[in-house]
Amino acid sequence: MSANAIQMLEKIVSASIVITSAVSAYNKAMIEITNTLHNMREEGRDDLTDEELAEAQKRVEDLRKEWDAL
């Protein structure tokens, strides 16, 4: 196998990893969302609290800072 072919294969595998990682991120998020909504209903609430929403927003902000710093 030529060096170019190996390099190409490497890129295809990397791209596949990116796509499967996105699917995995989506699945993890779905599990989190479903669990949160389930807990909300178990507790007899109609909607999420402002704290829960603020916490989710803060998590994104913290991760964004981590990403920018990398």
């Binding site: 990116v18 989506y26 989190e32 909607d47 990403w67």
Partner: protein, 136 residues
Amino acid sequence: MHNRLYYFAWCLAVLFVLSACMSMPKLKTAKQQLFAIHTLSANVLQTAIDLRKSGLIDDEMKATVTRLFNLGDRLIDEAEVSLHILETYKEAKKLRILMDHELAEEAKHAMLFSEKLNEANVLLLDLLKILQEKQK
């Protein structure tokens, strides 16, 4: 060619997450939808951080991904505003239904009151007739 393939994978991944985010039927209120958007964003960011740490994202790719994240941030801001408008509209609609209901109740009372007034008028007319006859 190689980089294009990689960009394409990233765009596909971001589009996949965005489209998934837009089509979640379980979410009923703006707060729930925003929570879902933030949770999805957090998971995508975490994945990107893991990929960067594992060396799959180089500096050039990081710049592209950051641009995509910035675009995502703007989209989330827009979504937040739209969802608040939608929620306000829903609240206004609910309030209007309540008001309509209350107005209907008021109208019913007014009609009942009017009927009683009519009955009273008939009685008064009868009384007037009796008095007129007595005067004769």
